[in-house]
């Protein structure tokens, strides 16, 4: 990708500062080498930019609901659901980050400031962090975080292995109708549990949500016992959202994990994110839950 990061000169002014051409999903974009005011319209990427030490001036509503961002959103404006181009222009950004699925909006954003569209499942979270670091010339910050993260994971891994052994772990959310079973590539702490910690998924979860499909699979209540592991991280789709009585049903209550008290309610917003800040929060929650 982009031919970036030459010298690390201190860009003094955001406008008229050095730029380079970055190859994004929406074509080649001329972006500042050292962006000073970034609006992150794709909520999932907020934490990446924060970790890289970049000044984010605007982010969508969801970001402010993430418990792991507590105290980390000072000075950031809430841009709502991410449809208001006027709110974005009001923040006077020098770089805008959006998802390709924000579609028609991108053309307008490009008129406000250089806009980088990202395809949300193209890279896994570590690769994405490195890509953003390359884009903003902050590789050192990414390396530093990754080193710290590896250490944290290693420490958690030995502790958890001791407590859990080869037992299986499930991650499940429900919107009141279907139950979603997550694999390793769709947020919800999946990358931590199955990749970093190397914990076991149930056979069916592995088949349906890890080896195939977009990273999750939706099942009906009857199928629940076939998918459920010995430990379950569970929650409704949104915070305070309807769980459709799934957690009250007899099928649920008869699961081994439930009977043994091995069910942990995850925060649906906090576990939606996959960025470094949220990962740390999730790892802490997972470790605490499994070694209790």
């Amino acid at each position: 990708c982009g031919n970036n990061s030459e010298s690390k000169g201190s860009a003094s002014d955001s406008k008229g500062a050095e730029t380079f051409t970055y190859k994004a999903e929406n074509g080649n974009v001329k972006i500042p080498k050292h962006p000073k005011r970034v609006v992150v319209m794709a909520d999932g990427y907020y934490g990446y930019f924060k970790t890289l030490g970049i000044n984010v001036v605007g982010a969508p509503e969801n970001v402010f609901k993430n418990p792991y961002y507590k105290g980390k959103t000072n000075g950031v404006e809430n841009i709502g659901d991410g449809t208001s181009v006027e709110k974005v222009i009001d923040l006077n950004p020098d770089l805008i980050i959006v998802w390709t699925t924000q579609g028609a909006d991108i053309k307008k954003l490009e008129k406000i400031a250089p806009t980088v569209a990202v395809k949300y499942d193209k890279l896994d979270n570590i690769e994405q962090l490195k890509e953003f670091a390359k884009m903003t010339g902050t590789e050192d910050k990414a390396e530093k975080w990754l080193a710290k993260w590896d250490k944290k994971v290693a420490a958690a891994k030995t502790k958890i292995k001791k407590a859990v052994g080869d037992k299986t772990i499930s991650i499940m959310q429900t919107n009141g109708k279907d139950i979603y079973v997550f694999g390793k590539d769709f947020g919800r702490g999946g990358s931590i549990i199955y990749k970093d910690l190397g914990l076991q998924a149930t056979k069916l979860t592995k088949e349906k949500a890890i080896d195939q499909g977009p990273g999750y699979t939706s099942i009906s209540l009857e199928k629940l016992p076939d998918f459920a592991g010995d430990y379950i991280f569970a929650g409704p789709w949104q915070s305070g959202g309807d769980d459709g009585g799934v957690f009250e049903s007899s099928i649920w209550k008869n699961l081994n994990a439930v009977k043994n008290g091995h069910v942990y309610k995850m925060d649906p917003i906090g576990f939606y994110f996959t960025d470094p800040i949220s990962l740390e929060g999730q790892l802490e929650f997972i470790t605490e839950s499994l070694t209790k």
Binding site: T83, I89, D90, T100, G103, K107, A117
Partner: protein, 336 residues
């Protein structure tokens, strides 16, 4: 007392004035505050680049698209209500919303993942697939309803059937989508025009203007058709032929609106009703008044949708329903 012939003119003048008022309010309202005087300056080329961008690229296209789509859907509804001799008819019964939505969902489902240059592909192909889907659905309904001509009641019954089928398919594909694509599809289906731009306006403007004029020209046939097939035939109208032509006009009108604004429900039902209550059933006045009321309601709804929860947005289709429903119920109660 005023004579009856003056009333439609007054109604038209009043609704037009209302549109002008909402037009200026909408232009001035938004996250970025631009004083009315400054707005004028921008129009005379004296504003800042930023204000120009906000007014000409962000707000004005939305406003104009609102007016066009509002008029188009309402007139399509007016035509359908007269042609089908059914007061509950609206563009939705010809499968236009369901067909358009299904096409959009299929498009997102099958192509989104593989499309590399998405901003181009998405903005141009999405409306186009909606148009194709809407017209295909209408065509299917017409063919299935055909039995030596198409009677209004068959048309409506087949329409309901095909709609149900399309909606079922829609649901299946939506459930199989991943959440990101699903959100995009959901926003589109409930109707939203935040993607409004000048290209879109130039694409649908000619259709809507030409078809509105054409419908006005056909107003006398609509007057006669309202009397029922037998009477209309007795009066020397080629009912089947005129019906086909008018249906085609309604479908094209509504389909271009669906392509531009997504599935806007309800407006096509209420605008003609309100117009009829205000001016009576003569189509020479019913058509223009429907168009005016549709434009007014849509623009009002979009202005609210954009500002009530700013910087978040409410789908405009929902606002129309919230605005329209109470007045509609009031009208129906008054009629009894």
């Amino acid at each position: 007392m005023k004579t009856k012939t003056n009333k439609p003119l007054i109604v038209m003048a009043v609704t037009f004035l209302l549109i002008v008022v909402v037009f200026f309010i909408s232009l001035n309202l938004g996250v970025i505050k631009i004083a009315p005087l400054k707005t004028l300056q921008v129009f005379f080329g004296q504003g800042t680049a930023r204000d120009e961008l906000v007014l000409f690229e962000f707000r004005l296209p939305r406003i104009i698209l609102s007016l066009l789509v509002g008029a188009g859907i309402s007139v399509a509804g007016a035509i359908l209500q007269s042609v089908s001799q059914n007061e509950l008819a609206e563009p939705g019964i010809l499968g236009i919303n369901a067909g358009g939505s299904l096409a959009v969902v299929l498009f997102i489902y099958f192509f989104q993942g593989s499309a590399s240059d998405l901003s181009f592909f998405g903005t141009f192909m999405l409306p186009f697939s909606a148009l194709a889907g809407a017209i295909l659905a209408a065509f299917l309904i017409y063919i299935l309803a055909w039995k030596k001509g198409v009677t209004p009641i068959r048309l409506i019954l087949v329409g309901i059937g095909v709609n149900a089928g399309f909606n079922a398919l829609l649901l299946i594909f939506q459930l199989k989508m991943d959440p990101h694509d699903f959100m995009q599809a959901a926003v589109w289906i409930s109707g939203s025009i935040w993607g409004a731009n000048w290209n879109m306006i130039w694409a649908i403007l000619p259709w809507i203007v030409i078809l509105l004029l054409f419908t006005l020209y056909k107003a006398r046939y609509l007057n006669i058709m309202q009397l029922g097939d037998q009477l209309a035939t007795g009066l020397g109208t080629a009912v089947e032929k005129e019906r086909r032509i008018l249906l085609l006009a309604a479908v094209t009108l509504a389909a271009s609106c669906v392509a531009a604004a997504g599935g806007i429900a309800f407006l096509g039902l209420i605008a003609p009703h309100v117009a009829r209550r205000l001016t009576g059933p003569r189509h020479q006045t019913l058509i223009p008044v429907s168009a005016f009321i549709g434009s007014f309601l849509f623009l009002l709804a979009d202005t609210l949708a954009r500002n009530v929860l700013a910087p978040s947005e409410i789908p405009v289709g929902l606002v129309i329903s919230v605005l329209g429903a109470p007045y509609f119920i009031y009208l129906l109660m008054k009629a009894n």
